[in-house]
Point group: none
Chain length 257, copies 2
């Protein structure tokens, strides 16, 4: 039970109860993320999703609270809404950087926000997503930021592999058995979600909640539709990797199994 499994002792990653691989900090402690947004529904949504990644989350509802929390929480990354009640996002950023010069920031901006205030945001390696966002998108961007900032180990694995299926999160390239496959943005996100949870059944509700943005009000059968698209591109003519669990959901697993 407590055998000296060298992989377990020295590795910088661990496998979550859900079977996914987590990012960890070099000292083995969980990654810390500070979430700042004035809408409680947003901070709660994000906190839940990010905790599920195995990260340690704190949240704040305004700039003042954010700066305070940042000081003693010392997060490895910050999710920062640009529109806060008490101060401008850029002001928060500036002060944040005084205490934590290297912390990467993921900005949240309204879709229709004037473009000019986004200028320069990604200059320092930071990134942003527009509201309404999908959780997979936020998680993926955060993982990218954290990986690149060097706050976590497991640096170079921007590639997900399941069987002979390969997905590169940097180049957005997907291939199966060496053949390149072109996916649309939504197809890509769906496949990424499946591949981050191999051999696990994901319900349509879960998929909808993670891959589509939180304000999606459409028909529930988009998931079926997109699964069908993916199959056409990925399983076409080959041993299928995407499987239906009737009444439960879908799962992906290596073909030979």
């Amino acid at each position: 039970m407590f055998s000296e499994d060298p992989d377990k002792v020295s590795s910088m990653t661990t496998t979550s109860p859900q079977g996914r691989t987590e990012l960890l900090r070099p000292d083995g402690s969980p990654v810390r993320v500070l979430v700042v947004d004035d809408e409680l529904s947003i901070t709660e949504l994000l906190s839940m999703a990010l905790r599920y990644e195995g990260w340690q989350i704190r949240s704040a509802g305004d700039g003042t609270g954010a700066l305070q929390t940042a000081r003693d929480f010392r997060p490895d990354a910050v999710v920062l809404d640009m529109m806060l009640p008490d101060m401008d996002g850029l002001t928060v950023l500036g002060r944040l950087r005084r205490d934590l010069p290297d912390v990467p920031v993921l900005f949240l901006t309204a879709k229709d926000a004037v473009e000019d205030r986004i200028a320069g945001l990604t200059a320092g390696g930071d990134d942003y997503v527009t509201k309404p966002f999908s959780l997979e998108e936020v998680v993926a961007r955060l993982r990218g930021l954290i990986r690149r900032s060097g706050a976590a180990d497991r640096r170079s694995d921007s590639v997900l592999v399941v069987g002979d299926l390969m997905l590169d999160e940097d180049s957005h390239e997907v291939s199966r058995g060496g053949d390149n496959i072109h996916l649309t943005a939504t197809e890509f996100e769906l496949l990424r979600f499946l591949m981050r949870n191999p051999r696990r059944v994901l319900s349509k509700a879960q998929i909808l909640d993670r891959v589509w943005s939180y304000d999606f009000g459409g028909q529930a059968n988009v998931v079926e539709l997109y699964i069908s698209y993916l199959r056409r591109k990925i399983d076409a003519g080959r041993e299928p990797m995407i499987h239906t669990r009737r009444g439960a959901g879908y799962l992906i697993k290596p073909a030979a199994s």
Copy 2:
């Protein structure tokens, strides 16, 4: 685990988490740059961008602070605004040179600054850029200065190569498959940014933030436009190297892939 990997110990460059090649000092420590400008927004923007290059940054808001910081920080390069509140840029330069005779300086000057004041600035191997600048420009010039000063190793790699596409940062020459290609300044910067991040999807926001100057307030579709110009010159009739990732951005990669 701690084996003597000769490559690791003696190499003068490393590959950043981003996959790009960094400049390092001969002893393997990060390059140090001092940024001097009285506008906080400028020092912050530059600090962010230069930190992202893997460099170690200090900043100062006036000449006095600059000289003080320079003394114990001993930077490998200095970015110096010519217009400081307490003293003239040339005065700062003179005193700076007393402590650090060989440090290369990148001057920042207002666009409308009288030409004759700039005259001679670059005589000693220094360089300058006019405000408003683009980050790619500043980074490129700094890399050039540092490379040429001998403060960092990896001297001769002023040439970026992706597939049969070649870009020389010193001569500003570009060729594909041996054919010389003439690019305008903006086209050149865009291509350089793409080539410094091969096989990685770069969003339009990232491109805008790095390649256009920080005060650019125009339409986001200049990026599309310039991508289209580049394609006409680089991919014309050939196997395309510049690819669109709809909804994500653009990337460059070798044709055969």
